[in-house]
């Protein structure tokens, strides 16, 4: 293929393989001037790999890239930035003990006399940038103290602080709620001019209609098709992705209010955020937790399992009061917690799939005396890989080499193997593709019908509507309402989620 100067970015016949995996074969892609190109494909299809090749993180094996008709061959991310390619990675890449401003200007700090840093100037520039982007962030805040969603905003601000021609966004919205997504889309529209373009990777299909001009689908590392967003349907895109039709219409099964209360929380408070939270969880129920970012849902979950200390409140399990001091005790009582932040609180990145799947259950299920039953553990890991269709060359692969969605499936598998009575899943389908999401929903329904109880914290309202028998809505650390499946609608949930904040404004 010849370079086309009318195209902003052109990728042709790219191949990349890792030991035991062919990530990309004969991949191609065109980005036009002034467009937002959606890039979709299943977990492990090769989307992130392609972006890492483009920005010089991986070395390319074969194939060609052109930027505005000129060959593009960058070796380091720095070079990519200089050529006008800016990327927001799927995994957060911030230095947690530095501030927002320090992270944004890392390696490009404003200097006086080429030697001394100018903190004041740096803060001023950050303020300017954040104001321009209409982001509500404190330049001096430590990144470690920010929620995942806010960290994601910092990443976005950083990417937009470069004078970029091509902006690559690898699942930028996986940690954002609807309002924040809308805000991001406004930013993108403002960024796009006749000389720039955006590659937008997502697993949230409705976003494609909202922001993209065209959609490129890849499957198993191969180019499948590109279509105009206006002239296609999401179902068509999904069937291109998965290679078959996916039914996304199921609703929660059975209402279970009458069942035994298994977990009861009363007046829960923590020092940081949680303020008088009470709710009941029934046996065999999927209880949705909805709310805006920072509503205190994660903090509530962490307080229940004893990861953070509680200052007051009672928790009872099957009617008996319990004091849970740490997550180990929670696990002994049959409560498992899946964190929203898989890299920080979920995965042992350097260890293999077997370890990551088995770590919670090895003590009671895969030990004989003091020795581990390695064969049994390995078989359980293999079954999990099969059940969740985790894409990996073997269970001995280190999870850091798995794609984001497959990493997420791995920690979901951990809690399936553990066989808990109560599962608290915090954003469980983050980064998981449409097809696999349906399978996980189905799995959760099966678990519930087997009598397990599930708390599902999610920022995706459609997901809550699909799954939850009842919905607890939180705002500012408080429960602002509990809705039955019939009463729960996007509008009713949003009203409750913003309830408290409106009160405050009126005061």
């Amino acid at each position: 293929m010849r370079p086309h100067s009318s195209l902003l970015l052109q990728v042709d016949d790219v191949h990349k393989s890792f030991p035991g995996v062919s990530a990309l074969s004969g991949m191609r892609l065109d980005l036009r001037h002034g467009e937002v190109l959606g890039l979709v494909g299943e977990n492990g299809a090769g989307k992130s790999t392609l972006m890492k090749l483009l920005t010089g993180i991986y070395a390319r094996q074969s194939g060609q890239f052109w930027l505005n008709g000129e060959p593009l061959d960058v070796r380091t991310p720095r070079e990519a930035e200089e050529r006008g390619l800016s990327i927001i990675h799927q995994e957060l890449n911030l230095v947690s003990h530095l501030t927002v401003a320090e992270n944004i200007w890392l390696g490009r700090e404003p200097l006086a006399g080429g030697l001394f840093t100018r903190p004041g100037e740096q803060i001023r520039r950050t303020r300017e940038l954040l104001d321009r982007l209409e982001m509500d962030l404190d330049p001096r805040a430590l990144v470690a103290h920010l929620s995942v969603a806010k960290q994601q905003m910092v990443e976005i601000a950083k990417a937009l602080s470069f004078d970029a021609k091509v902006l690559i966004m690898d699942e930028p919205t996986s940690a954002l709620n609807e309002a924040e997504v809308a805000q991001l889309h406004t930013l993108i529209r403002r960024f796009v001019t006749p000389s720039t373009g955006v590659v937008y990777i997502t697993h949230r299909m409705p976003e494609l209609t909202a922001i993209t001009d065209r959609i490129t689908v890849i499957r198993d590392g191969k180019y499948i098709a590109t279509t105009d967003t206006a002239s296609t349907t999401l179902d068509a895109v999904i069937s291109h992705m998965v290679g078959r039709a996916v039914d996304t219409s199921a609703t929660p099964v059975g209402v279970r209010d009458d069942r035994e209360v298994i977990l009861s929380v009363r007046g829960l408070r923590t020092r940081t955020m949680v303020d008088d939270v009470s709710f009941d969880l029934h046996k065999g129920e999927v209880l949705g937790f909805a709310g805006l970012m920072g509503a205190g849902r994660t903090e509530t979950a962490r307080a229940i399992i004893g990861a953070d200390p509680i200052t007051s409140g009672r928790i009872s399990l099957r009617g008996k009061p319990v004091t849970i001091r740490n997550p180990a005790q929670a696990a002994r009582l049959g409560i498992g917690y899946l964190s929203e932040d898989r890299k920080k609180y979920g995965l042992m990145l350097n260890l293999d799939v077997t370890h990551n799947v088995g770590i919670s259950s090895v003590a009671h299920r895969f030990c004989a005396g003091v020795f581990e039953r390695k064969g049994a553990l390995r078989r359980a890991a293999e079954q999990t890989v099969d059940l969740l269709k985790i894409k990996t060359p073997s269970v001995n692969q280190r999870v850091k080499y798995l794609s984001g969605g497959n990493q997420q499936k791995t920690i979901i598998g951990r809690w399936l193997v553990k066989d808990c009575d109560i599962l608290i899943f915090d954003e469980p389908t983050r980064g998981i593709d449409v097809g696999a999401k349906e399978e996980i929903y189905h799995l959760l329904n099966t678990l519930a019908s087997q009598g397990k109880s599930i708390i599902m914290i999610s920022s995706e309202l459609p997901e809550i509507l699909r799954m939850a028998h009842r919905v607890v809505v939180m705002s500012d650390g408080r429960v602002t309402g509990t809705l039955s499946a019939e009463d729960a609608t996007q509008e009713s949930m949003m009203a409750l989620a913003t309830n408290h904040q409106q009160d405050k404004k009126e005061q």
Partner: protein, 338 residues
């Protein structure tokens, strides 16, 4: 009635590249050991590769090896144990106190000494988990405490074992369980210690939680593992190896020397690092550490044999560590950007 009662998956290949790479790395370390050994044999043809000198090397590898087993367990958890050198000296003093001063039978004295070592480790582990001190600080303090206590308990002079009353104690190091094999018991003890460490690290929960904590402590805790408890267990186990080092060095010398020990912790850490264990935790190898302990012992001994002045020996050893770890990192980096 779990979801996972599905039919077993087709068997995937049992070993991945990773485990072969680890083997290769150990093979390389072993080759390095041979090269160093050969080099000294050529440099000092008449004195280095003799039976008695090789025994000297092995005796010193026994002590460093025991300490390094413990150091490996701790370092894999992303911790560090600076107290194992002086802890060893204190353990030796305690062994002598139990047996010589108090007249406790040898077998019981040894058990008490090992228990004492576990106690040192327990205190370390408690300081790290319950008090939340950084391992470096907690064990640095313990290093000084042990150094002081060894002098206090012994009254600042060596305690000699009685060749008759503690005959079996001395036999533990220099005797021959298999007479005529020319194989002193100390080496058997090291082999047993390495085997135990290997089993603990590779086949039990302790090893699994050790790498898990070293790889991501918070994620391990949220997986329902009692991280504090297990860290205390890990430090305590390391303490047992420290005490075993104390037993072996005092049995070899026939006395407990309260003022020795400082510096051994660095040798143990160096052996661990040379053996391919990462100081940032989450990755380690017991066999690698054994090879590392042998390499350090060979270099220590060889430099003495070729009569390099004492002050130069540490310079050489430090240089070797830099080179070995550098090569290791280089290889890891290549693997990553491949």
């Amino acid at each position: 009635m779990s979801l996972l009662d599905a039919p077993p998956a087709a068997l995937a290949p049992a070993r991945t590249l990773d485990s072969w790479k680890q083997r290769l790395q150990q093979l390389l370390a072993f080759a390095g050991l041979l090269v160093i050994f050969l080099a000294f044999s050529i440099a000092a043809p008449t004195t280095f590769a003799t039976y008695s000198n090789v025994m000297n090397i092995l005796f010193s590898a026994v002590v460093i090896g025991c300490l390094a087993m413990g150091a490996t367990l701790v370092i894999v958890s992303a911790g560090i144990d600076l107290s194992c050198g002086t802890g060893m000296a204190l353990s030796a003093v305690m062994a002598a106190t139990f047996m010589v001063t108090w007249g406790i039978p040898v077998w019981l004295g040894i058990l008490l000494t090992l228990a004492f070592g576990a106690f040192i480790g327990f205190v370390n582990g408690t300081a790290v988990t319950i008090l939340g001190l950084p391992p470096f600080i907690a064990t640095l303090a313990m290093m000084m405490i042990c150094q002081g206590l060894a002098l206090v308990v012994s009254g600042v002079h060596p305690i000699y074992f009685d060749p008759v009353a503690q005959k079996s104690y001395l036999w533990l190091s220099t005797g021959n369980l298999f007479p005529g094999s020319g194989f002193p018991n100390a080496i058997l003890v090291l082999l047993i210690a390495v085997t135990v460490a290997y089993l603990v690290f590779n086949k039990t929960l302790l090893g699994r939680y050790d790498v898990s904590i070293g790889s991501n402590m918070e994620a391990t805790a949220l997986s329902g593992i009692n991280v504090k408890k297990w860290l205390i267990v890990i430090y305590s186990t390391a303490g047992v190896f420290t005490a075993l080092g104390g037993v072996m060095i005092s049995a070899r010398l026939g006395s407990a020397q309260p003022a020795t020990g400082a510096g051994y912790e660095m040798q143990a850490i160096a052996a661990t690092v040379i053996g391919g264990t990462s100081l940032s935790g989450g990755k380690g190898s017991i066999i690698g550490t054994l090879i590392g302990a042998l390499i350090i012992s060979v270099i220590n001994n060889g430099l003495q044999i070729i009569m390099l002045p004492q002050q130069w020996q540490n310079v050489v050893l430090g240089t070797v560590i830099v080179i070995v770890v550098f090569i290791d990192q280089l290889r890891n980096k290549q693997a990553k950007t491949r």
